[in-house]
Amino acid sequence: MNCDDYKKLMIDFFDSGLSQKENELLNKHLEECNSCKSEFEELKKLLVALEKENQIFLIESEKYIQSIDVDEIISKKKKKWYEFQFKPSFAVALIVLISLAIYFSLINVNSLNDKNITSEESSTETTSTDFLSGYLNQDYIYENIDETSLPQSNYFKDVINFIDELPYSTLSSQDFLNELNSTISNLNEKEVDALIAQLESKKFSGE
């Protein structure tokens, strides 16, 4: 046995204990090897410090743990649809919507057609402007990602498609991050790492 093997025994000694034979072996070695003896003392210090920190942490955490109210969590969860249905603001919004629907159903068809044409033109303009201001292009992302290095999954493609839908200027916004976070939660670790690496290279390339 070399010193590395004895290090494993030392950790086992503090972790789950040793057999009598292992104990004797370790003791004998510690008497003979100064380096391992000091290693053993260091390990003991670490475990004492960990234990002390844990005691402080347990006391500190207690107030947070006590503040977790199961009834509140469950009642919030249950209330959601109920509150939504009867909120005064929702009722007002509903009345406004119904009024608007009646209004639009009463105006003449020609005027509606005119509106549609204007709306289409405006929509084309917006897309064009947004594109010029810097859309992340799906082809660009695929060109810059080494797909062969990735275990492909539908979730990964979802993330790319999701990013593709957004103007670059919103990439660092909190709303974007929240949405992206929920989308990537099903990626595996390797895919997330790969995605981040590729996005990082994109960021640093000035995109």
């Binding site: 290090k7 494993k8 950790i11 972790d15 260091e42 390990l43 210090k45 670490l46 410090a49 960990l50 002390k52 920190e53 844990n54 402080i56 942490f57 347990l58 500190e60 955490s61 947070y64 743990i65 503040s67 977790i68 199961v70 009834d71 969590i73 469950i74 969860k77 990439l171 660092s172 991050l177 992206l180 976070n181 990537i184 939660s185 990626l187 670790e189 997330v192 790492d193 995605l195 981040i196 996005l199 990082e200 960021k203």
Partner: protein
């Protein structure tokens, strides 16, 4: 074994419509869930969020719990999975703002003023060192050292062999020792 029987009784009562039985179950395990989440994520806010998520998941999914394992093994599995998802989300967030890496490494409200400066410092350094462990080692170290689970129980939760878990624990201790060498 008795505790497991009690848990099964509580689950049956909850599934039969007794809300109080659910509260008893949560009260029994929320501390473990919270402390584990904290050790994996490193701050109280995230630990609280994860604990709430676990409670809601428990509420929704207890009817599907097959009782092939104990409920605490099941809860540890949910807690570690949700915590890992949170760590993934952080990776993405940190891509956009590298300063956040520093932020989540313990600029938290976790220490009380009555603790000495040195105790606060050492406590922070220890949690920082734990946060620096690779995910797998951090989970194994947390479940083994802080939660006192056996390697067999951890193996059931993580689906990893006992040998590999022992190796993870060994490396975790070595890294903590190196990281904290000058602090002890």
């Amino acid at each position: 074994m008795k505790s497991q029987i009690d848990d099964n009784v509580l689950i049956d009562r909850f599934l039969a419509g007794d809300a109080k039985a659910f509260n008893v179950l949560v009260e029994k395990y929320k501390r473990k869930i919270y402390l584990t989440a904290y050790r994996l994520l490193g701050n109280h806010e995230d630990a609280r969020d994860i604990t709430q998520e676990v409670i809601i998941k428990m509420y929704n999914d207890l009817k599907n719990f097959r009782r092939e394992s104990s409920i605490y093994t099941w809860l540890y599995r949910i807690t570690t999975n949700l915590s890992l998802n949170e760590l993934k989300r952080r990776k993405i967030r940190n891509f956009f703002d590298f300063d956040e890496v520093e932020e989540w490494l313990f600029k938290d409200e976790k220490q009380s003023p009555e603790l000495s400066y040195r105790e606060n410092e050492l406590s922070n350094k220890i949690q920082e060192a734990i946060n620096k462990l690779p995910e797998k080692q951090r989970i194994v170290f947390t479940l083994r050292y802080y939660d006192g689970l056996s390697y067999e129980e951890i193996s059931e939760i993580l689906g990893t062999s006992v040998g590999a878990l022992k190796a993870n624990y060994f490396h975790a201790i070595n890294k903590l020792q190196k990281e904290l060498k000058n602090e002890l």
